[in-house]
Amino acid sequence: MAQARTTTRGDGAREARIGSGARIRGKIHGEGDLLVEGQVEGDVAIRGELTIAEGASVVGEAVEAQGVTIAGALEGDVAATGQVRLAAGARVRGNLRGSAVSIEDGARFSGRLDCEFDLPPELGGSSRGETRGRPAARR
């Protein structure tokens, strides 16, 4: 399949896809990328990239993946080992954790951001690893 953007590890890590007419109630887990265009009610835990397309919705307690891109609706806590990206049009309610989190103009988000990074020295951070910033989006 010519769609793989990330390097696929091992064999048979073919992309999985929940079509726009599909609805899953239950748990999804395993290896490989997952594209959600339909509706998922339940937890998602994959080792791969999770993409929630425009018009799709995921409602669960916990969403775990390597990288998460959201253009649709998501309710639940996200824990990513890589990047979390909220595209314009995304509607997200829950806490986000990732190595990096980006929120595009037009995305709606309510929850907490949990993203550890080093503050630059001019903002009071030490040169290496001492001070950790932890921004909280919700007041």
């Binding site: 073919r14 896809r17 007419g21 599909a22 887990h29 395993g30 997952l34």
Partner: protein, 104 residues
């Protein structure tokens, strides 16, 4: 490409319903119902009752099957359960245990 694909590394535990077709290359436990074609690929494991317009099995399926049109059990498939469809084929090399109801 099918509208819904459960990839080879993916497991779904629960209920899948779709208005379109679906290909399972991974594992599904629970219930699977589609308005269009259902394909269970070689290497896939499905432990679920399956409803669809048609069903093609090349992998392992445990559960009862109802198809509006047809069911094809291909060589290498392993199916345990009852099959209900007006047209059913079981290829040489398919393993099947269960009842067939062709609605005669």
């Amino acid at each position: 490409m099918a509208s819904t694909v459960i990839g080879a590394g993916i497991t779904v535990e629960g209920e899948i319903t779709t208005d379109e077709d679906i290909v399972v290359a991974g594992t599904v436990r629970g219930k699977l119902s589609a308005k269009e074609a259902v394909t269970i690929e070689h290497g896939a494991t499905v432990e679920a009752d399956v409803v669809g317009s048609s069903l093609t099995v090349a992998g392992a399926l445990t559960g009862n099957v109802t198809a509006n049109e047809r069911v094809d059990l291909q060589s290498g498939s392993r199916v345990v359960g009852n099959v209900k469809a007006s047209r059913v084929t079981i290829a040489d090399g398919a393993l099947f245990k269960g009842n067939v109801d062709m609605d005669v």
